[in-house]
Symmetry: C2
Subunit: 268 residues, 2 copies
Amino acid sequence: MTYCVAMRLDAGLVFLSDSRTNAGVDAISTARKMTVFEEPGDRVMVLLTSGNLAISQSVRQCLAEARDEKRSLWTARDMFEAVTIVGEAVRAVHKRDAHALREAGIEFSVNLIFGGQIRGERMRLFHVYAAGNFIEATPENCYFQIGEAKYGKPIVDRVITPSVPLGEAAKCALVSMDSTLKSNISVGLPLDLLVYEADSLRVTRFVSIDEKNAYFRMIRDTWGQRLRQVFGEIANPEWDASQQAEFPLARDEADRWGQPVRARRDRS
Amino acid sequence: MTYCVAMRLDAGLVFLSDSRTNAGVDAISTARKMTVFEEPGDRVMVLLTSGNLAISQSVRQCLAEARDEKRSLWTARDMFEAVTIVGEAVRAVHKRDAHALREAGIEFSVNLIFGGQIRGERMRLFHVYAAGNFIEATPENCYFQIGEAKYGKPIVDRVITPSVPLGEAAKCALVSMDSTLKSNISVGLPLDLLVYEADSLRVTRFVSIDEKNAYFRMIRDTWGQRLRQVFGEIANPEWDASQQAEFPLARDEADRWGQPVRARRDRS
């Protein structure tokens, strides 16, 4: 599996991906899931992929090869045109592979996050589906996740709004990844982190994070430890009789197939 | 959907369930997912259900009706016999419904947590699958979740071991539920929380938690707020040149289909 998250903030864009891939638990490997398309001063676009690795690699190859020089990520006038080109690449792979996959009982499964900035336009961030259609991030919903998204969603929901500074957002993405790594073995290091500063039109902050990365190690150690500390500081529930107003005992017995919760042996 | 979690600790058992059920987003309702089988002084057994509501209600009915007085949860000699009876109930419902469900294109989907204690034996906790088979919690893996389990898994992974006291485990279950409620609309109040003290052989701590419950409101307010505070206290990543040892810039370009991450326009 995979975990990728990307955020569109006022100050820029944050992209983070893991690199674990597996075809069954006995076929675990490493595959980077971030691809950066950069023409400094003109455009930066980032693609994150999840789902069937054969499909997502094919999509990436289609986009990077850009056989049709008239219509490619390098010539797209704006991010909307660029994301439609990404969608077309997905559909091209679908056309080539979907029938054979269906014959083999394999779902055509791919999910992409695609975002960036082209000179003259604002930053944009999209979630592209297996049908090649897509939705865009908005101020109300300014992030996307693909892959094993659920473990790391609560912290993102609690922290991220468009006004959050880039450093804090990058930290949040890493904490979200840490929670996912902790709970799901199908997500793994190294991580690729790219932080794009609005209007820079070049990649200035891009790191590959492995076990040795001191900052991520600090996050892993500190976050778990501080979480347990905060957890310990919150009072346990009280079950004293005096607290029953707060923790009322449930009604003893309810009608049989109403919503009871308690069945007691009927000694007849 | 549903979120239920149960833990087997040295000091007792903790069971927590939500009560949201839905058949599509326009058919959201409330259904309690905890059923308690109690014969004070002799046995306490708790069943948590997720999956297709028609199936889980039928399983519950089979078990509570106990038509065969010779073989029921009330007569089971130990928890292993009891859980096999639960598995048989799942199989009985499968026999009755699975064919019609398959005709309708509906999966026979049900997941159960079943645990408790019968006099003369230790406490036991099981996860029962749709095939009626089951696994048991162990000291290494002392909790089970069913339904929307992923959002609330990281905090349980970080906190729960068999030696955790009951109050702290109940708090952890509620924090885990809070994260799930925050990120997934298909899980909702009221909650049912049952904390069983080892060898008590009766239900002494059982509460139904709604929006008005002061303790859960405190958890919801405090946890989110303290989480953001801890998050804020952790240093943001530094991108200064002096920090490049910790946050190295990725290598500029890689071979084309090795695992690169960066494609730059080839100006040929």
